[in-house]
Amino acid sequence: MPTLVSHPEEVRIVSSRFGQGAAEIDRYLELGGYQSVRKAIDQGPDWIIAQMKASNLRGRGGAGFPTGMKWSFVPKQSAKPKYVLVNGDESEPGTCKDHLIFLHDPHAVIEGTIIAGLAIGAKMGFIYLRGEYRYLLKIMEKAIADAYAKGFLGKGIFGSQFDFEVVSQTGAGAYEVGEESALMESLEGKRGVPRIKPPFPAVVGLYGGPTVINNAETIATVPHIFRIGAEEYAKIGSERNGGTRLFCVSGHAARNGVYELPMGYNLKRLIYEVAGGIRDGRPLKAVVPGGSSTPVLLPNEIDIGLDFDQVGKAGSMLGSGGVVVLDDTVCMVDFALRTIAFYQHESCGWCIPCREGTDWLKKTLTRLHAGAGEMRDIDNVRYLAENMLGRTFCPLGDAAAMPTIAFVKKFRQEFEDHLDGKPCPHARHTVPELAAV
């Protein structure tokens, strides 16, 4: 079990039960669990959605879509069954928070799933774990079984007239199935390739029924909102960005780990105070603020608040909350190659620009990094990325293109330094391991 870190400035809501043995249902109950869902049953769907809207909770999966609004898009009447789908595919390099939730607080996910189901009128929820999280499936399955045993799942949950079923499932190991429509394909037993949108999942989703898809952290946050109260929760964060978020610090910070901080918390402070600064007191070279798909920030760009709007204004994205700290030992060409190698490997291959673009980015960067590049290769890298951007079938292509463009833009000199035939002048150290579980 990975060691948990902590810092006095943390505001522990989602992580409040981490390390407390809450995977056991009785302990979860002792810690106040399954109270929110009872409240939700009593108050009904309209109230739930109103509260969710008031909480200003925005999706923790990466795009930051307001959760209450997403739930309100589901039609009240539907010929086909509705579903709740929990996205636990967590595969964006630099991100390792959902993992902790499944490990330490699986009942929060179940409770959040039931509340989402009550809100939209679904009778079934699916909890989908990343293929490589197979070992967490046991924990999740035990939690589900315990909830059934207590009558929290199944027919007439909590003695009410509501029925609700929950099933958990793993993927076969593909980043792309974290994309919501590919996730549904995968769950239906098909090839993990995204669907054409519209229709959006809220209207036509899993097995053709209206479906709410939320990130595991988003769902695990839901019971806490009803525990603290939506207004209170909203107040913790910044404007239009309610509550807290789990930030996953990795790379060359002195104290890597997952910290829960209010939305809008200063990035520089996160690195230098909370995570203890750079290891060995080395100079900071760059920060990837929200998982490997987000454009890199220079040290002079990190004095910003960590919420969807402020990071966006700084030219990057809050993304999945994976903060990757890079010190001066890092070769940025190597880092770009490393990033692209991931997206190339994970491209589902469906559409031309992503399939071929990532392939040629990887080929070009590999040669460039090895010292066999030419000036036009640097232009080609940028050309490829710019011609992928916004034109692929799903956002994975953008996820590969956006950071690449930033690497070339912000570190062009380093790319040019590789051209004189000497392999990687910066390779004093290798690229840090990204947070990987």
């Binding site: 491209s347 291959g349 559409c351 399939r355 071929e356 011609n387 034109r391």
Partner: protein, 764 residues
């Protein structure tokens, strides 16, 4: 749906709501490049070639998935879009082998065309391209991954169009690859639709691979010679030392009534024409009992002399004529005219595979109720009684599946065996092999309480249908047909079609290759011998002469060769069939691909066939009949109306009626047609068929333009009580067989063996 108004590149357009931008643009003549979009197949949005800018949308949008909206402002020609298209092509070409100089698709490749039009002539990339070796998936299908652009057309046409699902996608990223679901080879209908739809040269066929360049071929669109559905197939032929040889069959311009479709036979089974066993010299039996090559003049003179002698000595009743299901209407018409005229015999027949006369008789004068193959694409409901379209009528099966997919048509199936179309059926009724007559009787009967519940349900559902297309196979014949027609006519607007087996089975019958009917189902006063009766008569030494044009009764019926020993047997054929082997004279004839004329498919759609190839040394059946008649001293003008003062009749008058010549001339003038100058011009006979055969007076102009013309034959008066249905013998062909002819197609034989082995392996 209501129309919406929108603008494209500043032009204001309207289209029905729901129309995809790509279709709306195409309809207005604005080209949107596309690889993965294919009309009729599911949407993919994978190739990203069709990106357009739509105002108020943050990103470029795919024209292939976005429906037009009221007030939408669309741009397709901006620099941004040009660059998007160009970069998409650059990316596609980066891993592409660019082996255009040797690629089968070279010159006919959508990737070449797009690159030519939208740029990406130079390459930015220098790294090594990804490679995979070429694979053979079946006797006909090869796959070359490096050329594949992953448009998924092949996968979709196999899943959706064919309902076969033999293809899938393996792996991901640039390692993604189209692969057979059967791992290394294709277990499928071998139709080659995947090859046909492949926009590049990734899927190629064994018959054409690395053989030639498309621009070295002459391409002729004609009608497939195999089953009774009448698909248009485009034959590519090349000059070889022994004539114009067909090297390729495909569906090049998709302009036929078969739309996108061709089956394995229409695509590959043209190779019988190039079979080395093809006869190219007349053969005459020598005193030593052996067949030996002879000169054309001598062979024809011999046939003419013996025919004349036998007619004079024994009379026409001692002679017989057997026609073919694969000759043109003009040839069949001429053959029966030759039999009934110069040969003075009523003994004429052909291999009948279904009961067209029974159908025509049952329908009576209700000719508006004839269905066509096009109805199978649009009818909201279809009743299929007997038959197995997937095996025997692949185009019908395709149309029914397409109709089901696009329009949700309701298909009702009554059959004694499980057939694949049941996948699409709304209701299936399993009956016994002998139960067809009972079934249709109970459909037609007023309510019958003793009916099993399942049958009653089936009948009630059918009764609720407003526009039912009723298709029946050879399981129903003779008197059993009438109740089905009666039932159909009791519905608001039913149509009918009857399934027969070969390219011109219907035409052979319509043209009077039948002992009881002259063309157009006009009853004769003296009924001649049927095909089995003629063979029996020959066995009893009662048939002095038999003229077989394009059939192999000996082989097909398994007759003892000696049974024809005392009959002067003349066989016109492409091959030395079992019948030809015992003939006295064998005349090598041209295939349907080597002549022009018309054929009628089993649904009564009349279509032109065009000469696509030739084989040195052979002659068309039309020419041979005329030459024999000429040598016999007959008046050719009485057989074929040509030149000035033409005369003609249908053979029934045994001579020339006075005034015929005038009537023909008047008809020609009224139809804006010129007299034909040569007796060998099939159009001269078509003129007469159009003028005299009931139901065949179709729009000649449209016919020649390649539009199938429906023939609507009404039963003539005094229809005989029996239509002779006892001598019907269905071919029972499968997808991979095609009567006697099919045995001479090496490719079809190979595919048949390949699939048979698959079936054996699957069965353990």
């Amino acid at each position: 749906m209501a129309d919406v108004t929108f603008t494209v590149d500043g032009r204001q357009l309207t289209a029905p709501a729901g129309t995809l931008v790509i279709e709306a643009c195409r309809a207005a003549g604005i080209e949107i490049p596309a690889f993965c979009y294919y009309p009729g197949l599911s949407l993919q949005a994978a190739c990203r070639m069709c990106l357009v800018r739509i105002e108020k949308m943050p990103k470029l949008q795919t024209a292939c998935t976005t429906p037009v909206g009221e007030g939408m402002v669309i741009a397709t020609e901006t620099d941004e879009i040009k660059q998007a298209r160009k970069s998409m092509l650059e990316l596609l070409l980066a891993n592409h082998p660019l082996d255009c100089p040797v690629c089968d698709a070279g010159g006919e490749c959508e990737l070449q065309d797009m690159t030519f039009k939208y740029g990406a002539g130079g390459s930015k990339f220098t790294d090594i391209k990804n490679h995979r070796d070429e694979q053979q998936w079946s006797p006909v299908v090869f796959f070359d991954r490096p050329r594949c652009i992953l448009c998924y057309r092949c996968v979709r046409v196999c899943n959706e169009g064919m309902d076969v699902a033999a293809l899938g996608i393996q792996f991901r990223n640039s390692g993604a690859v189209i692969a057979p679901n059967d791992i290394t080879s294709l277990d499928c209908e071998q139709c080659g639709m995947c090859i046909d739809l492949c926009p590049v040269g990734a899927l190629t066929s064994d018959t054409y691979r690395y053989k030639t360049r498309p621009w070295e071929l002459t391409h002729v669109g004609t009608i497939c010679t195999h089953c009774g559905d009448g698909c248009k197939t485009t034959l590519g032929a090349r000059r070889e030392e022994n004539g114009m040889q067909i090297v390729r069959g495909d569906n090049r311009d998709k302009s036929g009534m078969n739309g996108d479709f061709l089956c394995v036979k229409g695509r590959y089974a043209f190779d019988f024409a190039n079979n080395p066993e093809r006869l190219t010299q007349p053969l005459v039996r020598q005193p030593d009992g052996k067949l030996a090559p002879a000169r054309w003049e001598d062979a024809i003179a011999l046939v003419a002399r013996r025919f004349r002698e036998i007619r004079e000595e024994r009379g026409g009743a001692a002679m017989g004529v057997i026609g073919s299901t694969r000759i043109t209407n003009e040839e069949a018409y001429l053959l029966q005219k030759f039999a009934r005229g110069p040969l003075q015999t009523a003994n004429i027949d052909h291999h009948r595979t279904t009961d067209y006369p029974g159908f025509v008789k049952a329908l009576g004068g209700e000719t508006a109720h004839f269905g066509s193959i096009a109805d199978a694409l649009t009818a909201p409901a279809i009743l299929l009684v007997g038959g197995d379209p997937t095996e025997e009528h692949p185009l019908l099966a395709w149309n029914l599946r397409t109709n089901f997919r696009h329009n949700g048509s309701r298909i009702y199936i009554a059959n004694h065996r499980a057939i694949k179309l049941e996948h699409q059926a709304k209701a299936t009724l399993r009956i016994s092999y002998g139960g067809y007559a009972d079934l249709v009787r109970s459909l037609a009967a007023s309510d019958d309480a003793s009916l099993p519940a399942e049958t009653a349900h089936f009948r009630d559902a059918l009764r609720a249908e407003q526009n039912l297309l009723i298709v029946f196979g050879a399981e129903l014949r003779g008197d059993a047909i009438a109740p089905l027609i009666q039932f159909g006519l009791s519905l608001p607007a039913a149509k009918f079609a009857c399934l027969g087996d070969f390219a011109n089975s219907r035409g052979a019958m319509d043209m009077g290759l039948h002992p009881a009917f002259t063309p157009g189902y006009q009853a004769v006063s003296t009924v001649g011998l049927s095909l089995p009766q003629m063979m029996d008569a020959a066995g009893r030494n009662e048939l002095a002469a038999l003229y077989v044009v394009g059939d192999d009764p000996v082989g097909r019926l398994g007759l003892a060769p000696e049974s024809l020993r005392n009959t002067f047997l003349v066989v016109q054929d492409m091959f030395l069939t079992a019948t030809a082997q015992v003939a006295d004279v064998v005349l090598p004839s041209a295939s349907l691909y080597e002549k022009s004329g018309t054929v009628t498919n089993t649904y009564g759609d009349l279509q032109p066939v065009k000469k696509a190839a030739d084989t040195t040394g052979v002659r068309s059946d039309l020419e041979l009949i005329i030459r024999i008649a000429d040598q016999m001293g007959e008046d050719i003008r009485a057989l074929v109306p040509f030149g000035r003062g033409e005369r003609g009749d249908m053979g029934q008058s045994r001579g020339v009626q006075s005034g015929e010549a005038d009537r023909h001339a008047v008809w020609l003038a009224a139809h804006n047609l010129e007299p034909k100058l040569s007796p060998f011009d099939p159009d001269a006979l078509l003129d007469e068929i159009q003028r005299l055969v009931p139901g065949y007076d179709v729009d000649r102009f449209a016919l020649m333009a390649g539009e199938p013309q429906p023939v609507r034959v009404a039963a003539g008066s005094n229809f005989p009580v029996s239509t002779g249905s006892e001598s019907i013998q269905p071919a029972n062909d499968t997808l991979f067989t095609s009567g006697t002819l099919g045995q001479y197609s090496e490719k079809l034989t190979e595919v048949n063996r390949f699939q048979a082995e698959k079936t054996l392996v699957a069965a353990g």
